[in-house]
Symmetry: C2
Subunit: 525 residues, 2 copies
């Protein structure tokens, strides 16, 4: 499989390699190496003796980022948070934590052990989320690789294989094999509109053969890629091909590829050991600004030279006035909060609807998935639970917390109307369809339906193309240069932490431009 070079060829190659910088520059120019734009440098103009102030509404990732950057530039910052905790949807659930669901509070009954937790909000960081990674680096938040796609996890579709779970690696290899076999036949007969040249046909047949691991006659008869059927005390034997009819029969194949091929879910992904809220804790360690909890905002007024915010704490109203306001309150709440925001702005807000997302964390008595050769990853099901995630941290510990349901959009509806204990029972029974004995291994669990969580009632904004074109720019523009709407809701990547960081970056760069321009005017005056 390795390329062959003679010693002389290799040394010549080395001697000639001086020109590689040029090659690299060319490839950059051609966009072959293009990647997501790196985060902007946030060297905000220090305010020094000017003593500017800012009030930050919401202590989620966007609010914390804004506060952190403004503090560093010398701003006086106040953070107001409606709920009882810092972090927003960046929420790691551990023993004793309160799940503040409307009307049915839960208290997490997991064992009090450092490996028993789950991330109810963001749980994965891909390598191109450069802002998230930059802050992890700057704030010394450790990262480990998280297994997301796992060959050994299952695909379970009631409409295929009589509902039986099939290993993902098996399914993927066979799907590729069958499609390649069909294409091989078509190419062999050369029945395209434009006849392929003999040479092109030959190359295409080779390509397809390699792609699907076909045999010499262009047939798919199973592949090593599908996985071993036996151990290593006897000659290798691979899993038999699945019935292709069954693959075509299900709707599920639409998801399998989406799940591992979405770049934001593509391996390798990362997580914070001990819980994603390690990022929140790191911000809190760095911040000296006060964070006022349990303080829902009652009104927002943009004035000639700043913003007045009234909040309520323990039944008492307080007002805070600042030069600037960075507001990460969920957009769908804002129409209900008295404010003097412009009509166009209010109309835009009124048009937005939140996304829905629900996760259930289940503490399992035993790491049964490891006994099945599954070390992390995600099983994709046609059950109401949607996905089932296995932890890939703390391998071989005694217990572990699985994400026993992960569903969003309309999939949340039925779960919303259930009690927490009904949800656990339903999730456990769905798990039984994949893993025999699953229900008995559940020790405790909590459900986090974001569309029912107090002070949240949703999960970011559901931006359609039309809404985006009509309202996004209006809402991103600061009101009177004083009031900025932020949060992942105000980004091109809603529901991701990267979106929250990007929204903070955008607002801070805009602010900085205005401050620098003001200073210049000041100096001229």
């Amino acid at each position: 499989m390795s390329p062959h070079f003679s010693r002389r060829e290799l040394l010549n190659f080395v001697a000639a390699a001086g020109g590689t910088h040029a090659v690299y520059q060319t490839s950059r120019a051609l966009g072959l190496l293009a990647d997501s734009t790196p985060p902007a440098s946030l060297n905000l103009s220090p305010v020094g003796s000017a003593a500017r102030t800012a009030v930050v509404l919401g202590a989620g990732i966007a609010g914390l980022t804004v506060a952190y950057e403004l503090e560093r530039a010398g701003y006086g910052v106040t953070i107001i948070e409606a709920s009882h905790r810092v972090g927003g949807r960046n929420m790691t659930v551990r023993s004793g934590d309160v799940i503040d669901e409307l009307g049915q509070r839960q208290v997490c009954q997991f064992d009090d052990e450092p490996n028993l937790y789950f991330n109810a909000g963001p749980a994965r960081i891909p390598g191109h989320h450069q802002r998230t990674l930059k802050y992890c680096r700057d704030l010394n938040v450790p990262l480990i690789v998280k297994a997301n796609f796992a060959r050994n996890a299952y695909h379970q579709d009631d409409a295929s294989f009589a509902g039986r779970p099939v290993r993902l690696g098996h399914y993927v290899a066979d799907a590729r094999g069958f499609l390649s076999e069909l294409l091989h036949k078509a190419v062999d007969k050369n029945q395209f509109d434009q006849a392929l040249s003999a040479d092109d046909r030959e190359r295409l047949l080779e390509f397809v053969t390699a792609f699907g691991d076909l045999d010499d006659s262009g047939n798919y008869a199973g592949s090593r890629r599908a996985g071993y059927a036996r151990g290593y005390q006897s000659p290798e034997e691979y899993r038999s091909p699945l019935p292709f009819d069954d693959m075509l029969g299900g709707d599920f194949w639409k998801w399998v590829y989406t799940a591992s091929e979405n770049p934001d879910w593509g391996d390798p992904l990362m997580e914070v050991p001990g819980g994603m809220d390690g990022i929140v804790q790191a911000f809190v360690r760095e911040l000296s600004s006060p964070i006022t909890l349990n303080a829902p905002v009652q009104s927002i007024d943009v004035t000639a030279d700043g913003v007045d915010v009234v909040f309520c704490q323990q039944g008492v109203l307080h007002q805070v006035s600042a030069d600037y306001c960075f507001n990460s309150i969920p957009a769908h709440f804002l129409p209900g909060i008295p404010s003097n925001l412009p009509r166009e702005y209010k109309n835009a807000l009124a048009a937005l609807k939140p996304n829905k997302l629900m996760k259930i964390g289940l503490q399992m008595k035993r790491r049964f998935w490891e006994e099945e050769g599954i070390y992390g990853g995600t099983t994709l099901t046609s059950q109401p639970i949607g996905e089932l995630w296995y932890p890939s941290h703390d391998i071989h510990a005694q217990k572990g917390v699985v994400i026993g349901a992960y569903t969003h959009g309309d999939g949340c509806a039925t779960w919303s109307t259930m009690t927490p204990s009904e949800r656990l029972r339903a999730a456990a029974e769905c798990g039984e369809r994949i893993h025999s004995g699953y229900a008995e291994l559940v020790e405790s669990g909590v459900s986090v339906p974001w569309e029912r969580m107090n002070h949240m009632m949703g999960c970011s904004v559901h931006w359609t193309e039309a809404l985006r074109q009509q309202h996004f720019d209006v809402l991103r523009r600061p009101v009177a240069g004083r009031h900025y709407l932020v949060g992942d809701q105000m980004s091109y990547h809603p529901t991701w932490q990267e979106g929250a960081f990007a929204s903070a970056e955008y607002a801070l760069l805009d602010l900085d431009k205005r401050v620098r321009s003001d200073s210049a005017v000041g100096r001229l005056a």
Copy 2:
């Protein structure tokens, strides 16, 4: 994307779920869940006062496993190792370590830091290597996920894209898209031998459309799966499709799929934090048997009631006699060691040739790969280095050790005849083809060509199908029930630790059967 259930459907579903055990049993019977055979239970019959003894030749994974299990059963064990170190090819290279290459010893000059090391031998553990995982669990060896396939790592082929590196995720998505488009055209025209039914055709078109992320007309016009072309401050934009001609032009596409689809290399893989030799250290901690280093074996004689082994240490010959011998000396050395092994056995040994494998570890001044969004994984190249591995442990540390070359078989030939410093220079220049400025970031490096390492001179046995049929069973059978050949070389999974564990398991089970049968005879007498 989530399935939709009404509340009633969901509760009915839960009520009906009692039958899932039966479903699971059925699926097991149909082999849908088949997996590699679990490791045998090694409850060796304790020898007690019988005081049996064993000599183990070679302190690699197989030898250590045999010693560990025999000790637990009460055997008196002596381990003889030819080289200066324990572990065999399980070798993690750190600051100050000696690379005992024939004629050109190297001393590793990496910084003395816990994250700066590389695994010159085994480096990855897949979830179905049940024996390796069992011993990690039993010996409390921690495991972490290792990124192997990374969407953001590169594919670099001199014969494609003018030799420019292309992100693997981009390549894979586009290859799938183009093939799907072709197949879509073929299906659309229904030009197969057996005409598809209208319904089948419809389903197949849907399948292919989802598989390749085609547009509504069945064309591939790029995909989100290929990765983002820009950041998150502007509407999403994806990488433009690569020229398909260029894909067909290279030979490299044969590897891309092989590399991530081989089940032994399929995600998620695991590694031992701090180095794979954590497994070796764990065995050494557990063992009380003496391990004699620097002690090459000079002769092996199978006697009527045991085995005599002569070894040489510091110029002095020593003899050790034991009831049993477990021999993991590389098969290609054995014909050169005087012994009374049977002729058929010696003929078999003489027919075997070793594999070749070489790795180069390079300490890099800066983790430049993380700046390119690469957090672990493997770049596949058509250069003499073969693969380039990025570490996925100790993310965001200042420095890191990449595997700057990983090649095997004939690909090793040119590197073998170079000096260590020539190798480093060549590897650095190859790296320049992928990463501009690479060579200047290399601080130090070591090369480990196993086919030139003292007491090794190869990497397991190169078993062809013919050799396997002719000689494997002969060599696996113990000589006179006393002398067992072990090591990954004596398994169906050579070069993997799992093979070494499997060979030890096989030999120990065979021994135990004989011991139990002897005891039965003894009791009868």
